[in-house]
Symmetry: C2
Subunit: 204 residues, 2 copies
DNA sequence: ACAATTCTACCGACCGTCCGGTTAGTTAAT
DNA sequence: ATTAACTAACCGGACGGTCGGTAGAATTGT
């Protein structure tokens, strides 16, 4: 009766997901290199050998976390935002969805940026390729704005990186128990980012 | 006749400065934890033992680099920008000066953000305190804009972090041999950031 | 003037520790 | 009896750091 089937991303067991989640948190707090497998094992109440019953290697664990994070980005940011035809609405959706992933504590997504160097070249390239797709989705959105005469006179590549910088920095300073709620922070960031990009001559 | 006195930051020898510079570059490329002392030693044509003639410990080396970076931020960003009384000019100066430090390859400044966890708690707190001073300088500038009725309706803390995010992300994607020059990138970032913050109703 | 001494800038070899990962075996439930 | 889910003990290797020593330049004593 309790979770009879769990056809998640790759049919992982509950325990495996628990390990991924905890590992992502610890990687996020301490960094990949500074985290030992014993640290992770202890956090999920296992010995190191017990942990290796579930995973193949440290690098593989990181790769799995990053694949999960990319899958979240794609299904929780790109897909929902793609449904907006209006480029401004689409841009706002990207910021809000991505921001929400980060403020709601999806540490895996936060790791995506910081720990890429921990991957072997082949795995790294796979993740970078998927990130590139995301980046070009954002850039295309900006270019759609430009085509409609609604983008300020800014380079879309620099604009995309600027937006990413703002978003990627978010999990390093935002804490859920601060004076602003996650939704408030997202709204502020949306105001700032769109204000810097959108030509507001006709007020929409 | 050749450099008779060199009263630099702390009267360091040429060799020491060379070590700091090279170490900063390698830390920036590979990360602090992923860099071994032998790596650094080889990069400055020394053995590990020879390297330890100049430094006390790996952590101490990182601390020295970060102190140097903070000193650069203070003298090359805060001090020159403080001379502008007009808050908009001051904000633009902050972005331009900080951006220039990063595009001109001051790797030490780039490290400041990413490798804080490598420091011992006491040293880390010292650096964080100095960074806090910088952050409040930026926030005060935004509040001065607000007092003059020239800031959009945005939270100044979130705005400061957003700006920092954009700047701190810069050295991770900008390469000097790209299609845009450093100055062009800085100008674009300035447009985007100020556009998102400044209330342009009366055009200045 | 020159030998004796001291100092600067380094090196080869080594040490204890910790890490990622393995192996051989145990336990508990089917 | 078999299998899934572990554990205690261990391994090779890399790491940060140390130690004893030394070539050569600089300084000092006479």
């Amino acid at each position: 009766m309790k979770s009879p089937k769990k056809p998640s991303i790759a049919a992982e067991s509950d325990r495996t997901i628990d390990i991924y989640t905890k590992a992502a948190e610890i990687f996020h707090e301490q960094g990949f290199d500074a985290t030992s497998m014993s640290n992770i094992a202890a956090a999920v109440d296992l010995t190191k050998a017990g942990l290796y019953y579930y995973i193949e290697s440290k690098e593989d664990l990181l790769f799995a976390i990053m694949n999960y994070a990319m899958e979240r980005l794609e299904t929780m940011v790109i897909e929902p935002s793609r449904q907006f035809d209006d480029p401004r609405k689409r841009l706002e959706s990207i910021i809000a969805c991505h921001g929400r992933l980060l403020t709601e504590g999806n540490t895996a997504v936060a790791i995506l940026t910081d720990e890429i160097e921990g991957l072997k070249p082949k795995h790294r390239q796979q993740i970078l390729d998927r990130k590139r797709v995301y980046m070009e989705f954002v850039r295309d959105t900006l270019e759609a704005l430009r085509a409609a005469g609604r983008l300020r006179d800014v380079d879309s590549t620099v604009a995309t990186f600027s937006l990413f910088g703002t978003l990627l920095w978010l999990p390093r300073w935002y804490h859920a128990d601060g004076k602003l709620t996650g939704d408030q922070v997202i709204e502020e960031i949306t105001k700032i980012a769109t204000g810097g990009l959108i030509n507001d001559v006709d007020g929409n």
